[in-house]
């Protein structure tokens, strides 16, 4: 075995010496043989003839000796690579076209894969992440999903399902932001999140300093400080990473202060579905003091997270949790009325549920794009194979083995792929930066979860390499097969230009045409996809928001309270030049959602009221500021504060539901029962306004109820301006500081940007799909152009003959262009069927347009015919301009 290895090593590294020895050895043999013949008395001529007969295939012997050395494959690869590099260098235009095409396909694929991998495929960064689940409460009889749990319900589920959950934790769905002195002693809004003490230990959150929460931190005790953990980032920002603060108390937080027990590792995030609107990386984590004495039965506030016991399936967990839920339903009439079920989903699955369709659609799009790129390169290679027909035929008749020729072609394909993949990864690297920049985000809450884990790592590189290999297999094999069985005699007898035309080499015209047709079909599917997304985007823009978002400045105030301060602030802001109206609300539309409020008819039992509406607590002037249309009755006035009777304004959706027997006008003056602090309170409806899009542009959302705010300064504020809202921001800040210097102003932005954020996901998908579709259409156009050019080149003689026989240039033009258009028609027919089949997959991303929208299909087909006409025009004109005298003399 050692001799074997040494032999092979010498054969590879001293290849030239070994080859030369072989040559010498063989020629020695020939000479000996000749000598023998001479001595036997043959004439020199006869000797020569015999020798040539016996040793004609010297090249073949050499090849077989190389085989016998067992290193042939290695030598061949090296030789093939050198040869392939040489051919590519000789055809720089072809090489560049093929490599750039591949790089586009592989680059787009790699970029999208890196996002998909980071967001969807990688395991969550928690301990035993595969057993982590979200447990959400649904109210089936009210058709409400993800309704928060009350704290006592949570405790019942937690203690009632210990055999299912290794641990069950909960987090509050509304943030508990606090104003604390910052590092510079100025007040700073600190984002705080309350969760049960077992949440962070359950996730296995690592600790940078101090300790993590313990069960005792969640025990309620009189005059006991809260326990808090700091995010690493807040610890650095506020305390400069000072370890001595651990164990000390933040004085102005909670009734008895808050004790800092530890600091989380840098970058810790709680990854929850974006629609839950829970801060993923708050500055402070507060251990929620909770037991059966302090908990509440009403007051939905918690979202549950748990880790299943080993071997417990999601279905078993659902059954177990719902057994507890069923007991609670029996116990409490309000739960019986609304229904109470617990839905259990693996954490990772629910996390990406919102973005899954988008990512899958994009993944599909890039696979199409890659296939199109492969088709284009395959066609380029086929055309070139036909042009190289003679070279290949000569090589094969000189004794180059067929498999060797085939390998040569495959090596070329692999070299192209390797270069294309490298350039593609570079493109992807650039692309990911752009992608992350474009990705929809809302302040503090990225809509795409886990964007930070999107990087080009080993997995992504493996993907790029595999994509390159797969492409080489797709576009390299067919030309290689074609090249490996040249009918050498035929090719050699033919003129160069005829070789391809007759399909002996480089694929029949039929085959190349079908490649282009498939290409057209694929890019048509992409064009239709982006067309549908474009229609959706237009539909989103055209949606009636119910209010007018232009010329509104919004900001959030934290810290103030009291009717006097509120009145002062309102007066100051309203008096500013350029301000038309001022209002505030606990939640502005499209800015994060409003809490639900239960309502019912005046005769209903308050404990079983079924309705849930978005509740907003607003200042008078709210509807005037936002430009909400008044349908019936009146809006709030200052006098409403003083009236004995409580009044509300409702939207048209609630009017239709609560008073179904009449038009909106008939609702005015009637009473409604609202669930305030667990009891039913009568309110009189004084006005009906247009429905506002509160949560999303895609769905119309819950009904809406507006109540009056008497003394809350904290909340979201809106100022309607005559000019650009950004212009008065400075003046607004000055007035607020003068009114109450302790007020903290944050999240200053125009109302428009909330609307833009709501459109962001669709715009993001649209943009990417459109970019892919444009590249695809371009590639398909190039494909048509390439096929027709090759056709004209091959038929030069025939065309010349036709023209010499009297065919007009116009008819030649028509015949060539006609072939191009026929090709696109065939491609479009396939594309149409494919698009109809695949567009159903993106139905969930579409707004206001059907997956099989005829207008989109028709306009994209027209667009495509335009592209194919341009692509056919150039070769057709070249054919029409041929000089018959020259064309006929062509080789």
């Amino acid at each position: 075995m050692l001799s074997d290895a040494l032999y092979r090593i010498r054969a590879v590294f001293r290849r030239d010496a070994v080859e030369q020895e072989l040559d010498e050895e063989l020629s020695f043999h020939v000479e000996q043989q000749a000598e023998k013949y001479r001595r036997s008395g043959m004439s020199p001529v006869e000797v020569k003839r015999r020798i040539r007969l016996e040793f004609g295939g010297a090249q073949q012997i050499r090849e077989e000796c190389r085989d016998a050395r067992g290193t042939r494959w290695l030598e061949d690869i090296g030789q093939d690579l050198r040869y392939a590099a040489r051919t590519l260098r000789k055809n720089p235009l072809f090489a560049a076209a093929a490599i750039v095409t591949l790089a586009l396909g592989i680059g787009a694929g790699t970029a999208i894969f890196s996002v998909t991998d980071g967001v969807m495929l990688k395991p969550l960064p928690y301990k035993d992440a595969d057993r982590l689940v979200l447990a959400s409460r649904d109210l089936p009889k009210r058709d409400v999903q993800d309704y928060p749990m009350s704290s006592l319900d949570f405790l019942d589920v937690r203690y009632g399902s210990r055999e299912i959950f290794e641990d069950l934790a909960a987090i509050e769905v509304t943030p508990q932001n606090v104003v604390l002195p910052g590092a510079d002693r100025m007040p700073e809004q600190v984002r705080a999140q309350r969760a049960t003490a077992n949440l962070l230990p359950m996730l296995g959150a690592s600790v940078a300093a101090g300790r993590t929460f313990e069960e005792a931190d969640g025990e309620p005790a009189e005059s006991h400080p809260l326990a808090v953990m700091l995010s690493y980032e807040y610890w650095q920002r506020r305390y400069n990473g000072d370890r001595s603060v651990i164990g000390t108390t933040i004085p102005r937080m909670g009734a008895s202060g808050a004790k800092m027990v530890g600091v989380l590792a840098p970058g810790f995030e709680l990854l929850l579905p974006p629609k839950m609107n829970i801060d993923r990386a708050p500055d402070l984590w507060v251990a929620m003091p909770l037991n059966y004495d302090t908990g509440q039965r009403n007051g939905p506030s918690l979202q549950m997270l748990g880790r299943l016991r080993k071997g417990v399936s999601v279905d078993q967990a659902r059954a177990g949790a719902n057994a507890v839920a069923a007991k609670l339903e029996q116990q409490f009439p309000v739960k019986r009325a609304s229904g109470f079920t617990i839905r259990i989903e693996p954490m990772r699955k629910s996390l990406v549920a919102e973005v899954r369709p988008v990512l899958l659609a994009l993944m599909g799009a890039v696979i199409f794009l890659l296939l199109i790129a492969c088709a284009n390169v395959a066609n380029l290679l086929l055309v070139r194979t036909s042009l190289r027909g003679r070279e290949l035929a000569v090589r094969s008749s000189l004794g180059g083995s067929l498999s060797r020729l085939m390998r040569q072609m495959l090596t070329e394909a692999l070299l192209l792929s390797a270069l294309g993949s490298m350039l593609g990864v570079a493109l992807a690297w650039l692309g990911i930066h752009e992608l992350l920049f474009l990705a929809p985000t809302t302040p503090g809450l990225a809509t795409l979860p886990r964007l930070s884990s999107v990087v080009i790592d080993a997995r992504v590189l493996v993907f790029a390499a595999l994509a390159g290999l797969a492409s080489a297999a797709i576009y390299g094999v067919v030309p290689a097969l074609r090249a490996s069985r040249p009918k050498a005699d035929l090719v050699l007898r033919q003129s160069r230009r005829m070789a391809g035309a007759h399909g002996t080499l480089g694929g029949s015209r039929m085959f190349r045409n079908s490649v282009v047709a498939v290409e057209i079909a694929l890019s048509f599917v992409l064009l239709v996809g982006s067309g549908l997304m474009f229609r959706s985007f237009l539909a989103l823009r055209a949606i009636d928001l119910g209010f007018d978002p232009s010329h509104i400045l919004t900001f959030r105030l934290t810290g103030g309270q009291g009717a006097a301060g509120l009145t002062d602030l309102r007066k100051r802001l309203a008096a500013l030049p350029g301000v038309e109206a001022v209002t505030s609300s606990n939640a502005l539309p499209l800015a994060g959602g409003s809490p639900p409020l239960r309502w019912g008819g005046v005769n209903e039992d308050p404990s079983t009221m079924l309705g849930a509406a978005d509740a907003q607590t607003v200042l008078p002037g709210y509807f005037e500021t936002l430009g909400t249309r008044l349908i019936a009755g009146r809006t709030f006035t200052e006098a409403d504060h003083d009236q004995a009777k409580r009044v509300v304004v409702i939207d048209t959706a609630l009017a239709a539901k609560a008073f179904p027997w009449g038009a909106s006008e008939r609702s005015v003056g009637r009473d409604l029962l609202l669930g305030v602090d667990g009891v039913g309170v009568r309110f009189e409806v004084v006005g009906v306004v247009a429905h506002q899009r509160n949560a999303s542009l895609v769905e119309s959302g819950r009904e809406q109820i507006y109540r009056l705010n008497a003394d809350q300064v904290s909340g979201q504020w809106a100022v309607r301006t005559t000019g650009d809202p950004a212009d008065i921001e400075g003046a607004v800040r000055v007035q607020i500081a003068q009114s109450d210097p302790r007020l903290l102003i944050t999240e200053t932005q125009p109302m428009r940007s909330f609307v833009e954020q709501a459109q962001a996901k669709t715009r993001f998908s649209l943009l990417l799909l459109a970019v892919f579709a444009v590249i695809a259409a371009l590639l398909a156009g190039i494909g048509i152009y390439g096929v027709l050019s090759a056709l004209v080149r091959q038929q030069t003689k025939e065309i010349g003959l036709r023209m010499a026989l009297g065919a007009a240039p116009a008819s030649v033009f028509r015949s060539v262009a006609g072939q191009g258009l026929t090709l696109s028609a065939a491609g479009l027919a396939i594309g149409l069927a494919a698009a109809l089949a695949t567009m159903r997959g993106i139905a969930s991303m579409l707004v206001g347009v059907k997956p099989a929208d005829p207008a989109t299909f028709a306009s994209m087909a027209a667009l495509f015919f335009g592209i194919s006409f341009v692509a056919s025009w150039l070769p057709a004109r070249r054919a029409a301009n041929l000089d018959p005298a020259v064309a006929l003399r062509e080789d």
Binding site: Y7, E21, E25, L26, F28, H29, E64, D67, A68, G70
Partner: protein, 109 residues
């Protein structure tokens, strides 16, 4: 014309090893010797001889060195290694066994 036989697969290796067992030779001499001893029945083509020699060399059964012939030409001489000697014995035994067995069958039938 002599009636010439094509060699069964693997037999050429055996013949080469046996030829080299006497003395070191160059390729042409090997083919001449086989032809001579087989009374012109077996003719070894250059196209099979050299690949076979290279294969045997790779397996370490023969080794090669360049030397000068009696006519003062440089030629590549092959000689049997100890490993090749052993291989030759195994293959000869196997061949004889096979030949006898085939002989039996042919005689009986």
């Amino acid at each position: 014309m002599n009636e010439r036989l094509d060699l069964p697969q693997g037999t050429l290796d055996l013949l080469i090893l046996k030829t080299l067992a006497v003395e070191a030779m160059h390729g042409w001499a090997i083919s001449e010797r086989i032809q001579q001893i087989s009374r012109e029945t077996l003719q070894v083509q250059q196209g099979s001889l050299y690949p076979a020699l290279h294969r045997l060399e790779r397996r370490g059964w023969v080794k090669a060195h360049w030397a000068t012939t009696e006519n003062n030409r440089k030629a590549k001489y092959y000689e049997l290694t100890r490993l090749g000697q052993k291989q030759l014995e195994t293959e000869m035994q196997a061949w004889k066994k096979l030949a006898t067995a085939v002989g039996y069958v042919l005689d009986m039938a």
